[in-house]
Amino acid sequence: MRRASTSRSLRHARWQSVLAVAAIASAVSLPVILVSVGGGVDAHEIASLEQTGYQVVVSAQGLHGIEGAHQDSAKLLALPNVVAVEPILSIAIDLFNRTGNVSAAIAEGIVPSQFGATLSPTERGLFSWPLALGDPNDTEHYADGAYDGPTSYDVLLSAPYAQMNQVTVGSTVVLSPTTNASLGVRYNVTGLFGPQGSLFEPAGAFAALVLLSNLQVLTDYARGSHTVVPDGADTIEVVVAPSTAESPSGLAGVEREVQAVLPSYTVTSVSSEAAELRSADGILTGFYLALSSVGLAVGLLFLALVLVRRVERDRRSIGIRRAIGLPQRSVAASILEDGAILAAAGGTVGVVAGVVVVEGLATWASSTVKEAAQLAIFAPAFLGELVVGVVALSVAASAAAVHVAWRVDLLEALR
């Protein structure tokens, strides 16, 4: 009977109850959206990282790049248990199509013969093999650091760019380090990669793949300057022999060997990067929850006000119950039950609303937001804990109403 009477009691104060549920629901939906989308994106990144073809990364944190990338790569390739080494230079450039339209793009300078081994199976599927970039080992133009050998000036373009700029295989585009086309170099479009209308990377929908030496010359990374190093690269990705890569100790041994060859640079394993990303994801989740706690606090405060308001309104009913002989704890239990029901309803509605919003974004939002929403992960355990947590907090929110009910003067209430 108590449940029936409670639900009727809540219906009795319908609008207050609806507002309390709405306040809690809006507060709960925020962490549902943030954590599910944020966690989903992070999980996707971690999964992508773990599926890459390379296991060890050399980077030049805090420096102007890795100097002598071609030579360093050759040294690493000579190490036992290393099967491929790919130096990569990534730089934002401007792409000019046949009509002179300019688009910002990410250009990646690579060594074609090594590139495929560093990709995940999914990434490999985005390209036609072998890559149509002329010199597979990028040695002719590099010419032992002279950069005076012949080159083909071939470029592979991402399908979204080609689609939007009416660029086809066989045509030419100008790659320039600035918005001034006259400072650029004309390249032959020898192929496209990636599915039409999709994203290569979140920030690299428009991307160009060229020989490492070509990009180095275009952007001063060949000769070096006061801001960049000669024969420079951002990272060197190292592919370890599968039998060694499967063993943590074997992988650690390769890491040490790489570090010994390149002592000035930072050497990390992909697995440790994934672990760092997981740790960062945990911190981010905590931040999302902390951010959401503000909204939740407001929602619970509103719940407390609604319950206090109800107690004020129900003073006579409380007086009648106590006059009959019902103990005060019975009245308190009734208030706590009301609070818990409202909180559970608000929490459930909030979870459903959060899921609906994310699904809506995954269906109707534009580009990056849509893609991020599609990666969302709704962990039942997290959602359940969220609702249970809100219900538990409702006890604290109900405490004020219980206190007011406790102080109701019996005779005053019956007057």
Binding site: A4, I324, P327
Partner: protein
């Protein structure tokens, strides 16, 4: 279900003052000495503001005296905690108010079940007893009606059924017919008299209506907080 034994209630030098020591101090009762034996039918009469309801609240353990002592079966109730007094009220006292005071969110049957639920009686048992009591007051067909769907007379009959739900030995009725028409008032008084007799309960009935008071076998008259008359029928 056996009826609770009606307590012997004694008031010795009881006074009740509201806002004591303040500028608006009200001395509702002064030096009341009174014994209410088990099974008595007592009316409390007097003009408005003479202290009738205050007396009823003190006898029914809703209030505590400013001075003096209220004893139940020889034991002072002032020494009991609020929780103990609540329990005593639940088991031994049935209240009937002038304005009925049914809980608006409960049906008639649920209102009658309320005191039994507080005592922890099993649901089927209290359901059956609620139906039985509503039948006794002639409202079995209205068991699922909410208070706002009942007439004043019907509400008071439900309130009476609720008051006797736990078979209390002491029934306290504060102007039970004050808000009813004469026909409904007669039905309610007949009902009260019958239930009291069946249960051998003590009934204290506050009224300023002489016709209502005439049904009692003992008549107390209050004036300005003092007991000025205590008349017993032969």
């Amino acid at each position: 279900m056996s009826a609770s034994a009606a307590p012997l209630v004694e008031l010795a030098g009881v006074a009740r003052t509201y806002a004591e020591g303040g500028a608006e101090e009200v001395r509702a009762l002064r030096g009341i000495d009174l014994t209410l034996p088990a099974g008595a039918f007592v009316s409390v009469e007097g003009p408005s503001g003479c202290g009738k309801t205050t007396l009823l609240n003190l006898v029914g353990l809703l209030d505590t005296p400013t001075s003096g002592e209220v004893r139940w079966d020889g034991r002072p109730v002032g020494l009991r905690t609020d929780r103990e007094r609540s329990r005593l009220r639940l088991e031994t006292v049935g209240f009937i108010f002038q304005r009925f005071y049914l809980l608006p969110t409960l049906t008639a049957a649920e209102n009658v079940e309320l005191p039994m639920r507080a005592l922890g009686r099993p649901r089927p048992e209290r359901r059956a007893r609620a139906v039985q009591l509503l039948r006794a007051v002639g409202l079995e067909e209205r068991a699922r009606a909410y208070p706002h769907q009942l007439s004043g007379g019907e509400e008071q009959r439900v309130a009476i059924a609720r008051a006797v739900a736990n078979d209390p030995g002491l029934l306290l009725a504060d102007e039970p017919t004050g808000e009813l028409d004469s026909t409904s008032a007669r039905v309610v008084l007949d009902l009260l008299g019958r239930l009291r007799a069946e249960r051998a309960a003590t009934l204290v009935l506050v009224t300023h209506n002489p016709e209502v008071a005439a049904r009692a076998s003992r008549h107390l008259t209050l004036r300005d907080g003092r007991l000025v008359a205590d008349r017993k029928e032969a």
